[in-house]
């Protein structure tokens, strides 16, 4: 599965468009990380726990999107976009979407 956020793949042509594929993941942080984060809020700096958490959930969103693309029979997802939103207190939604295509 080829993933790209370009609209084309250099040197390859799209033979069929299969439409939008998407994946999301909502995750909450656990208490330990929250306590560390509130300490960091005094000193400032990177919240590593949160960075990792969001990275993991973003990967999960991408893998769900890839799953959908595979089910549709695609071999590439073009023009991928990410979006993050905080739906409720202490949880974030990571969303990835793109266009599934068959490249020849």
């Amino acid at each position: 599965m080829l993933l790209t956020n370009l609209e084309i793949v250099p040197g390859r042509a799209v033979s069929q468009h299969l439409g939008l594929v998407q994946g999301n993941s909502v995750r909450a942080k656990h208490v330990g990380r929250d306590i560390m984060a509130s300490l960091k809020n005094i000193f400032g700096g990177e919240l590593r726990g949160y960075t990792e958490l969001l990275q993991e959930s973003r990967e999960e969103a991408v893998s769900r999107m890839v799953e959908q693309a595979e089910m549709a029979g695609a071999n590439a997802v073009l023009n991928i976009r990410f979006s993050t939103s905080s739906v409720t207190q202490g949880a974030a939604e990571l969303y990835a979407y793109g266009t599934a295509v068959i490249l020849d």
Binding site: N5, E7, A37, L47, T84, S86
Partner: protein, 155 residues
């Protein structure tokens, strides 16, 4: 009275540690930016058509970064009179540059020579917490162009 003492301790801790952390972070950002200058991050939507077939790979970098206690109070005061919020400006600047650097590091590990179609995404992940946490997440992503090693007999 105790509240005031705790407040003052938090303020001075935030001021001291926050300043040192920011200085150190800027130093490391500058160092890594110079080191990774050879991989241009290009915001063009498409690579030029003259580019020969290459491998591409999605790369991304993200960072969650928080403001210190002193700066949050300073920003709170600033919001009374209005104007530039310097403390948040530098926070976001650091976050963006760090995210781009992480993306470039990932591209570098893949052997890429440039990254196209950079998109940035900023989210305040802890809204609705009575303004308790002043942290932002920045994500930078793009497509790394990895040159294909051409076998010698094809040249």
């Amino acid at each position: 009275m105790y509240d005031l003492i705790i407040f003052l301790i938090l303020m001075s801790l935030g001021y001291g540690f926050g300043r040192v952390a920011e200085k150190r972070h800027y130093k490391s950002i500058l160092e890594r930016e110079t080191a990774l200058n050879r991989i241009p991050a290009i915001v063009l939507r498409l690579p030029p058509p003259s580019l020969k077939p290459q491998n591409t790979e999605l790369v991304m970098g993200s960072v969650v970064i928080s403001i210190d206690y002193f700066k949050r109070i300073a920003a709170g005061l600033r919001s009374l009179v209005g104007g530039r919020m310097m403390s948040y400006e530098s926070l976001l600047d650091r976050a963006r540059r760090e995210a781009v650097l992480r993306m470039k590091e990932q591209a570098d590990a893949l052997g890429a020579n440039m990254v196209f179609n950079i998109k940035m995404e900023t989210a305040s992940i802890s809204k609705g917490r009575k303004n308790k946490i002043g942290s932002v997440e920045v994500l930078a992503y793009g497509t790394a162009i990895i040159p294909v090693a051409v076998p010698i007999q094809q040249l």
